[in-house]
């Protein structure tokens, strides 16, 4: 069986201030046949960095946190080390790392990319989605679906002869690239929504005759519950639809205060 990365989010500890993730893939063994190394290749000695990317799918704002063992690079985080991440230690993606007070309520795509230290020569110019002169392009495509070059992550769409076709135009020209092992999950940050619901419930006593507020809160709570169950069922986009509706209704709660 092939390598299968397991990106896990710690839901109990995650909130709008920090997102706690870990790499549960583990090392290859007879009892973990989808792990790193062994028959699956990708020995951990070749791991150069972990690149965690958090993309807000409502506005496409992207945050990137790089974990490496390079203590001289202040833009990268060295705690935990690469070895400790491989050994399933939690990584904290904190809003303060991006000079934010918190992550705003939204649906996020969180990806975990392992950068390998193998470099491949090529030619790749701006404004095209084709990387040319790649030796053994088909073999690379068979093993990897993502590449990293000049700070950009590209998805390999196809290979024709010695050419690699990418998912988008090249942003900055490059003459070599490194492969990435990548996996992702979707998460919903909903702390502001929780606060709105709590606020609405707390203020019900001030206007106990306000049946409109009671109805509204009942409806919001139902959306919230549906959102949580959809997330458990990995139906992220259904969860997000409920979240958006709950959020838009929660904004009106304040108008119903006595």
């Amino acid at each position: 069986m092939a390598l299968k990365q397991k990106l896990i989010i710690d839901k109990e500890l995650t909130n709008s201030i920090k997102i706690i993730v870990r790499d549960e893939t583990g090392l290859y063994s007879p009892s973990n046949i989808t792990g790193y190394g062994g028959n699956n290749g990708n020995a951990i000695i070749n791991f150069e960095k972990y690149i965690f990317e958090l993309v807000n799918l409502e506005n496409n704002v992207k945050h990137r946190q790089i974990q490496s063992d390079d203590v001289t690079n202040i833009a990268e985080y060295t705690n935990p080390t690469i070895a400790r991440i491989i050994n399933k230690e939690n990584v904290i993606i904190s809003a303060t790392n991006f000079n934010l007070d918190n992550f705003v309520d939204s649906l996020y795509k969180l990806s975990m990319n392992v950068l390998l230290n193998t470099s491949y020569n090529c030619n790749a110019g701006i404004g095209t989605d084709v990387v040319t002169n790649v030796v053994n392009a088909a073999a690379i495509f068979a093993k990897y679906k993502y590449i990293f070059a000049e700070g950009q992550i590209y998805v390999i769409q196809d290979v024709i002869d010695n050419n690699i076709i990418l998912d988008r135009n090249i942003v900055t020209a490059f003459i070599s690239f490194k492969p990435l092992l990548s996996s992702y999950i979707y998460i919903i940050v909903s702390d502001e929504l929780n606060d709105s619901i709590s606020d609405g419930i707390a203020n019900l006593s001030k206007n106990c005759n306000n049946s409109k507020a009671v109805n509204l809160l009942s409806e919001i709570q139902l959306y919230y519950w549906g959102m949580q169950r959809s997330l458990e069922a990995n139906d992220t986009f259904q969860a997000f639809e409920y979240f958006k509706m709950a959020k838009s209704l929660a904004c009106t709660i304040h108008f119903n205060h006595g």
Binding site: S218, L222, W225
Partner: protein, 78 residues
């Protein structure tokens, strides 16, 4: 009426999820077309959610649920 049956409980809980999903999709449709919303079922479903969630996530190994058949019948009527 008292039911002591995990399978029965799980079936009713799954039914609850299915019914709430269906109700929520209808609610979104009604809001989009400006139709008046009847909140009676919403409030009842919220109460059932609280009740069944409390049991589902409690530490007790066996579910002993008063009114499970009545809840099941209600969900089937929606």
């Amino acid at each position: 009426m008292v039911d002591s049956n995990n399978d029965h409980f799980n079936k009713v809980y799954d039914k609850l999820i299915s019914v709430v999903n269906s109700e929520l999709k209808n609610l979104i449709k009604f809001r989009n077309i400006g139709r008046t919303i009847d909140y009676t079922n919403i409030k009842i479903l919220n109460l059932y959610i609280r009740y069944l969630d409390y049991i589902k996530y409690s530490k007790y190994k066996y579910f002993t649920v008063v009114g499970l058949t009545d809840i099941s019948n209600y969900l089937n009527r929606l």
